[in-house]
């Protein structure tokens, strides 16, 4: 038997996830204080918040986050541009696909972090190295998703366009590429995820630039300022979630039809 939920019930349901977050934080706070755990191992949430505001107050979060975001967007932009372009070219030309395929098959499974020593030798530990390592990593999911999207275009749509008098070139531009957009976006989401990971990791290794959230993390860790480590993690988590939301918002703006994929 199912009754219609009252508005009170629905509000309670909507508030539950937030309530759970606060319950966990409260339990954490009480546990740390009750057991008297040293903040060097596990600081309580209240202290982390204090540190977070202190770091925002002295500008270290803003500066390091800004630098990290710039690097992320630079690496991502390069990967998106080259990945989508090559993926489309592979989808359009069987020859290009056959030439590129073995390279992707060989290089994609390679953990890109393993390239760090080599890149440091070639490029040093400056900006170029960080952007290159993240762009190389993000490039693969983007190119693979783009190529798959182009190849999986509904044959029916291509035939319909052909029947309505579209030339081969028109079919590619007006049917195949738009049809691949959901798949391209999926690749860009994956690419953005790994870009964030690789930039922060690269900032931790090779410290000549002395900046960025990764640097802030490793520096705070080395001097056992665990509160600062946690505060930096909180910032990274929030910024990561915001980037994903931003991407979803852009998806909906650019490709509103993907919301009704079941229908057509």
């Amino acid at each position: 038997m199912r009754k219609r939920k009252s508005s009170l019930m629905r509000m309670a349901e909507a508030a539950t996830p937030t309530a759970v977050i606060f319950a966990v934080l409260l339990a954490w706070e009480l546990f740390v204080r009750w057991r008297g755990i040293a903040p060097i191992y596990l600081p309580p949430p209240s202290t982390i918040v204090v540190y977070l505001f202190r770091m925002i107050g002295n500008g270290s979060i803003e500066y390091n986050l800004g630098v990290t975001l710039l690097r992320i967007f630079a690496g991502f932009a390069i990967a998106a541009l080259t990945g989508v372009t090559l993926g489309v070219l592979m989808g359009m030309s069987r020859l290009i696909a056959r030439i590129v395929d073995p390279w992707i098959a060989a290089l994609y499974p390679l953990p890109k972090i393993a390239l760090i020593p080599l890149l440091v030798i070639w490029l040093g530990t400056g900006e170029v190295y960080k952007i290159v390592i993240s762009a190389v990593t993000a490039f693969f999911p983007i190119v693979i998703s783009t190529y798959a999207g182009i190849r999986q275009t509904d044959r029916g749509l291509i035939k319909a366009a052909e029947d309505l008098g579209a030339s081969r070139r028109q079919i590619q531009l007006k049917v195949v590429i738009p049809a691949a957009i959901p798949s391209i976006f999926a690749g860009l989401h994956l690419g953005m995820g790994v870009t964030v990971i690789l930039i922060v990791a690269a900032e931790m290794i090779g410290s000549s630039s002395q900046s960025g959230m990764g640097f802030l993390l490793i520096q705070s860790g080395q001097v056992m300022e665990t509160e600062k480590v946690f505060a930096s993690l909180v910032v990274l988590a929030i910024v990561g979630a915001l980037i994903i939301k931003l991407q979803q918002w852009i998806d909906r703006k650019v490709a509103p039809w993907t919301a009704f994929r079941d229908g057509q």
């Binding site: 029916g156 035939k159 319909a160 029947d163 579209a166 028109q170 490709a255 009704f260 057509q264």
Partner: protein, 271 residues
């Protein structure tokens, strides 16, 4: 425009050496301004045939010619005089209604103002005025079907090839769309070749019904439908309709049984 199908055979490489013959030695002349239905069990090659006529598939053997009755010597390229309406509709999901309808004109390089003007007229004529900016995903099945019809009609081609266009619609919407199509046929006098496996639909719409055999698809019999036009759904209760239905049902029943046996065999074989 007449459509002359001459000894068309369509076969695909099957498993092993045996090719799958979808259509075998099919010959028929579809006369200008007539409504013809291809009626047959699934797998009898009726969809294949309309795609061959539309120039979207190349027949293994045989020939299709589009003939203008007044100038029978002129060879016309396949596909240039016909337009398809698909069961799966194949609307472009990222294009709104008006851009779907105007697609063909856009490909021809017609200016935006001109193609929108013509698209608006057609959208209105199929009863979708006010939905120009909607995406296909926002419309009901029947409305999408109207968009597909308008997208085909805007091409102003004399031959319309319809591959089970109403197959996916619910019963009520189907009736409305059939009446809509009858109206379009009466007004435009196009040559229509319509694929279906529904007997009532074939009788209600067609001037002639080409009953096909199970795979390989051949002509079993051609039935003439002499019901007066304009047609309406009330004719379903007439004596003439009933007689035609019995005749078609008798013919198709055998073939459906054969087709089901074939499918069962194929399933056995694939195990």
């Amino acid at each position: 425009m007449d459509v002359s199908v001459e000894n068309v055979t369509q076969a695909w490489p099957g498993r092993g050496d045996e090719p799958i013959v979808a259509l075998e030695n099919f010959s028929h002349r579809f006369a200008s301004r007539r409504f013809s239905c291809l009626l047959g069990p699934s797998g009898c090659g009726k969809s294949t045939l309309v795609q061959v006529i539309g120039g979207l598939e190349v027949a293994t053997e045989g020939n299709v010619r589009i003939i203008e009755p007044t100038r029978p010597d002129v060879v016309r390229p396949l596909g240039a005089d016909s337009v398809m309406v698909w069961q799966t509709l194949n609307l472009f999901p990222w294009r709104n209604v008006i851009d779907n309808v105007a697609f063909g004109l856009e490909m021809q390089g017609v200016s935006k103002a001109q193609r929108y003007e013509r698209a608006r007229l057609l959208i209105t004529s199929v009863g979708l005025a006010g939905f120009e900016q909607h995406l296909p995903g926002q419309l009901s099945g029947g409305m999408r079907q109207r968009v597909a019809l308008a997208r085909a009609l805007i091409m102003e081609r004399p031959i319309m090839l319809m591959d089970e266009p109403f197959g996916a619609l619910d019963a009520q919407t189907k009736i409305v769309m059939q009446e809509e199509l009858l109206r379009v046929f009466d007004q435009t006098q196009k040559t229509i070749i319509f694929v279906t496996h529904a007997i009532e639909e074939a009788i209600l719409l067609a001037d002639e019904i080409i009953v096909m055999t199970a795979r390989p698809g051949r002509i079993k019999e051609v039935l003439q439908v002499d019901l007066p036009r304009p047609r309406s759904l009330e004719m379903v209760n007439s004596k003439a309709f009933g007689a035609l239905f019995d005749r078609a049902f008798h013919l198709i029943r055998e073939e459906v049984m054969k087709s089901m046996a074939q499918q069962a065999m194929a399933l056995e074989g694939s195990r």
